[in-house]
């Protein structure tokens, strides 16, 4: 699935927080959205996912919008856990799809094992640790086998081990054909995972390029400063 943003503007309380922005994303594997705090990364992700209304402009997918939404999943920076068990959290998106119980049970068991929570299937999800919650949120998103997965800084505040586990799962997802669009502050992670980079600053796209080209020779001043660890305003 490819997506096209045409002159998109998002305003909040009369202030422009994103755009005007024109962007085309094809079926690339791993797109990393980089930029300083408040640059508009999360807003861009939400616009692409269709949960943020645009003030003007248009967002169009290569498939009908309903089909596009059904094929998407989103993982938030702070994982949102349903007040249910781990099993019920994993099963919920599948129940929404109307899958039969046997299929749901099989997928839940498989994903619980994949994220190391097989022994905690009946444990209340909100009482898991931060890393476990983030892994569960990721599994809950991937269990639907989405075409496109949006991740909003999924590894913020996680320890190295949890980050490595999450990155492994993400690589597997890309290999399985899922398109991933992710925001991060972690340049090391961006270097490890990205196929393509979009650099956002002050609500505008300052640069977009294949990852290797971006990290070797960023062309915009803001991106260069960001890569050098300078303060970008």
């Amino acid at each position: 699935m490819s997506v096209c943003l045409q002159d998109v503007v998002v305003e909040r309380r009369g202030k422009t927080v994103l755009g005007p922005m024109t962007l085309e994303l094809s079926d690339a594997g791993f797109t990393m959205v980089l930029g300083p705090n408040g640059a508009g990364k999360t807003t861009l992700l939400k616009v692409l996912h269709g949960v943020e209304r645009v003030s003007s402009g248009s967002v169009s997918w290569s498939v009908p919008s309903q089909t596009a939404r059904e094929g998407q999943a989103y993982v938030f920076q702070s994982p949102i856990m349903l007040r249910r068990s781990v099993r019920a959290n994993l099963a919920y998106p599948l129940q929404l799809l109307g899958l039969d119980k046997a299929d749901i049970s099989e997928r839940v068991t498989k994903w619980a094992a994949r994220i190391g929570l097989s022994a905690a299937l009946d444990f209340p999800a909100p009482r898991l640790s931060g890393g476990e919650q983030q892994k569960l949120a990721l599994a809950r998103a991937l269990i639907r086998r989405p075409n496109t997965l949006f991740l909003d800084e999924p590894c913020a505040n996680l320890d190295g081990r949890s980050v490595r586990e999450i990155e492994e799962i993400l690589r597997e997802a890309v290999q399985a054909g899922t398109q991933i669009i992710m925001t991060t502050h972690d340049l090391g992670q961006a270097r490890r995972l990205a196929d393509r980079v979009i650099f956002v600053n002050k609500g505008q796209i300052e640069e977009q390029a294949p990852a290797t080209a971006f990290f070797n020779a960023a062309s915009s001043l803001g991106a260069s400063a960001f890569l050098n660890g300078d303060i970008v305003e």
Binding site: H49, V51, R69, E70, Q72, A73, Y74, F76, I80, L82, R83, R84, Y92, P93, L96, P124, P126, R127
Partner: protein, 234 residues
């Protein structure tokens, strides 16, 4: 003080002897209040949840009106239901005045705003927590309401218990629309009012203790069944 002891003794005697009238009145009280509670919950839980997630033009006014309706004076509700059901009223032909059905109607009107308002408060908090997730799952309104009601069921149980407490202890409205007719519409609260009026304080107190015990038993049963303590942190 002696009257309180006499009341306690009378309550035990009535229970111990399985007094026929007492059993009849207690069962009727439970039937009327639980039926009213069931109907009110059917209306108030989805409505309160809907109000929490839906944005519309007069939403603030609707919430303010709902909160104001929580304080509806029961005697006024009783009077209005009486006028509606009386022979000259619009529903007079149905012959419902001075029946348990009329009492249930009055109680439903009294407790529905209370349950809906508590539901709205609880669901508003849960909705702010779940909002982004349920939207990202592309859920329908029906699915969102179902998820909120299911995951907020323990809080909703509290709302229902508050409604039950108000219904079982209500006297003004059901006295007007029920008429406190022996073996037809007499319930614990109207019986207490009657016995107090007759000066039989011991029996009135006995009935009062039974009313309190009944309320406690229902609350504890629901509390235990819903495993509030064990799973309360979900």
């Amino acid at each position: 003080m002696s009257e309180i002891w006499a009341g306690i003794a009378e309550a035990f005697r009535l229970i111990w002897s399985l007094d026929e009238d007492l059993i009849d009145i207690t069962i009727r009280s439970l039937k009327v209040s639980l039926t009213a509670l069931f109907i009110a919950c059917t209306l108030a839980l989805p409505f309160g949840t809907w109000l929490a997630i839906r944005r519309f033009r007069y939403r603030r006014f609707a919430i303010a009106a709902l909160n104001a309706l929580m304080g509806l004076p029961p005697v006024v509700v009783g009077l209005i239901v009486y006028l509606l059901l009386s022979r000259s009223g619009p529903f007079g032909v149905m012959g419902l005045l001075f029946t348990p059905t009329a009492m249930i109607m009055a109680q439903v009107i009294i407790i529905t705003p209370l349950i809906a308002s508590i539901t709205h408060q609880a669901m508003r908090e849960l909705w702010s927590e779940y909002h982004d997730l349920l939207i990202s799952f592309n859920t329908t309104k029906q699915q969102r309401i179902s998820a909120l009601i299911w995951d907020g069921r323990r809080t909703l149980m509290t709302a229902a218990l508050a409604g039950f407490g108000r219904a079982i202890g209500e006297v003004g409205a059901i006295m007007i629309v029920g008429g406190n007719i022996d073996q037809v519409t007499r319930v614990l609260t109207t019986a207490i009012a009657l016995e107090t009026g007759k000066g039989d304080f011991a029996l009135a107190l006995g009935l009062g203790f039974i009313l309190i015990a009944l309320s406690l038993v229902v609350n504890l049963t629901i509390h235990t069944l819903s495993r509030t303590e064990r799973e309360g942190r979900w």
